[in-house]
Symmetry: C2
Subunit: 410 residues, 2 copies
């Protein structure tokens, strides 16, 4: 068990947790059309050339390039139109010397042709004769066999997160089913003697369970399957029983513990009782989120987050979302590039601490401006007003109005 409150920097904390994060590796087969956002489990190579025939990239005439050499406006090349290439059909036209075939974008190049003259560079003489006013080189305006992708080439590596263009590309090669990693299951444990379920009217001293559902939505957004557990009470037996069940059901467990010192310690004790290595990090130089617990039980990561819903969401974004991506097996998480905006007001902070402040973003004169929303005790409603979170780096004792700040958008 790690020392209580040996506070690490967020980077150190992540580095401590990281060796304990293993992709879950379970796979399933799904229809490619249903695979948006899923993580590919196998290298996928092109099973065929694409295109599998030489195609015209333009509307015009399929020609032998040499028949157009030297053609100019003043001295055009005259070509006989031998026919038309119909879309979706084998190119049945045969070209003899000095002949051309009418062809449409995407049409199959006749065997004897090696280039396409754009229609704009031709003039019609009569029904069977055209003038070509500019020469074409061999291969001009032609998409060659395998030019988009050659048979056997790596189309998408294992661990790619499938985007619309990836889905399209797989289908263009006839890959209608793909093996993907199963979604990561994340159990969320609400804890607190004061909590009641959302559908219950809270009595004096009670509040509704909110964090677990906000975190469940964040987990879903990160590509995981959230499982919201029943509310655990602020005692060892209740939390331990719930956490054990959660570890059976899920690949990862997130406890949103109460914010008092005693419930945080309880969470750490329970995690340590569940298995090795137990608590790895207890305390991070992060605001909000100082009491964050990072742990691992067997091969399953376990997190203890602050009970305050806003603080819980922010620390979830800092640690749990990247951990979900890691367990999902994805190579590069989506939305990994952050937006930068100019601060409209100073943000006080302390050097040696990373701060996340909810901000409202406005675009003015093509520049993004971030207006910090300061609120007492990280009220959830500041998070509703906000478009994202501004990050004050560890080494800065606050940031000044006018400085550029990194924003993770909601």
């Amino acid at each position: 068990m790690a020392d209580l409150f040996t506070v690490l920097t967020p980077r150190e904390a992540w580095a401590t947790l990281e060796p304990h994060l293993h992709p879950i590796g379970r796979t399933e087969v799904t229809a490619t059309t249903d695979a948006l956002g899923r993580v590919l489990a196998e290298d996928t190579h092109a099973p065929a050339d694409l295109p599998h025939f030489a195609r015209s990239a333009m509307d015009g005439y399929a020609v032998r390039a040499e028949d157009t050499h030297g053609a100019t406006e003043g001295l055009p090349a005259y070509l006989k139109v031998a026919g038309e290439v119909l879309m979706g059909r084998p190119a049945s036209v045969r070209l003899s010397l000095g002949e051309a075939a009418l062809i449409h974008t995407g049409g199959m190049l006749p065997e004897q042709a090696d280039a396409v003259v754009m229609v704009e560079n031709t003039r019609s003489v009569d029904a069977t004769m055209i003038e070509v006013v500019r020469p074409v080189a061999k291969g001009e305006n032609v998409i060659q066999i395998g030019e988009d992708i050659a048979k056997g080439e790596l189309l998408l590596p294992r661990r790619s997160v499938l985007r619309p263009q990836d889905i399209g590309s797989l289908l263009s090669l006839g890959v209608t089913k793909v093996s993907v990693f199963q979604k990561v299951k994340v159990a969320l444990i609400p804890t607190g003697d004061e909590l009641v379920p959302p559908e219950t009217e809270p009595g004096p001293g009670q509040i509704r369970n909110t964090s677990a559902f906000a975190l469940a939505a964040l987990a879903a957004k990160a590509g995981a399957i959230p499982i919201v557990m029943d509310i655990a009470r602020d005692n060892y037996e209740s939390l331990k029983a719930t956490a054990q069940k959660a570890l059976e059901l899920a690949d990862m467990v997130v406890v949103s513990a109460g914010s008092s010192v005693s419930t945080r310690d309880l969470t750490a004790r329970v995690i340590d009782s569940l298995g090795k290595p137990g608590v790895l990090v207890h305390g991070v130089s992060l605001r909000p989120g100082k009491p964050t617990i990072l742990a691992s039980v067997g091969r399953k990561p376990v997190f203890g987050l602050p009970g305050n819903p806003a603080s819980a969401m922010i620390t979830f974004g800092v640690f749990v979302t990247p951990a979900i991506h890691r367990l999902s097996g994805c190579r590069q998480p989506p939305q990994r590039f952050s937006v930068k905006a100019r601060l409209t007001r100073n943000i006080p902070s302390a050097a040696g601490r990373e701060d996340y402040v909810p901000v409202k973003i406005e675009e003015r004169d093509g520049e993004l401006h971030a207006e910090p929303i300061f609120g007492k005790s990280n009220l959830l409603f500041a998070m509703i007003q906000a478009d994202g979170l501004a990050k004050v780096p560890l080494d800065k004792g606050g940031m000044m109005a006018g400085e550029w700040v990194e924003i993770s958008l909601f």
Copy 2:
């Protein structure tokens, strides 16, 4: 019917289409826990104060502030500990003058208390007595009734896209069901004599239908329900019959037409035959995407996009995604802020044309760099390599290496 190829700028084209975009307005009721990403159909006001009792923001002692006035390290205030406030219970402790109650973060303030002294600012004298070494002001470390949100206050306006924090906030107030706008249905019509379904082995001259599925994934990403129609053939009757069926099934129709001039004209003719006002824009100063058609039939927008999958995806992002957001009724589309990156190479363009170029993004020294991926005829595989699209504005005749460019991320 608009003049053929009176090319408009993208901004003019959108301004022409925009008056024809009407939110679909159909609503449904869903569980709040299932409402992530949905668009709220009604203003939602807080049905109760949150919190509905004064809560402690800290671990410490609930006190009357006046009992601590003037307290210092050297001359502390001595307070008698009258009891402990248990979490989730009414505060049953009654405080007399000179008394304090042990309280935890989130605990209910006893009626007679008006502030909380942080435990760090107290010392224990014996089991029933503490020293307070710093005074607190009235209200200090207390979250007042209604401070997060007051009863009747607007929690979330109609047309909000629900994010994790919004879900949490609704549940915190007991709003377990919400009325949301139904998802927009988008029909996608693949067109072309050369197309075969993805599961079919294409013969010479044939290719698999790809665009419609890539566009379906884009529609799903934009929050819509995609409906992929059967392949329409390159003739008036086939396309018209398919388009009529699509208009019955969906709120919006997207035709990914062949790229040849004849199929583009066919699409425009069919759209005009379906109803008023018909084609609004035919031709946009956009690359790729010049032959884009924007139209409206009755109150339903209809789009004709290039047949090339990469071009179709890019024009979809420029026009169809914003149109889906408009029809969905959302106030502010998610991901409305773009990322900026520094170009690593020149991008040639022509003034008077807006260009979109696939780019690979790399982070170096805290700055994003965008490497253009140039490819013949917008091959789909350039889109696989890319992390996003760089936009070369209309008024620029290309952009230079080192310049900042706006990126829409995939």
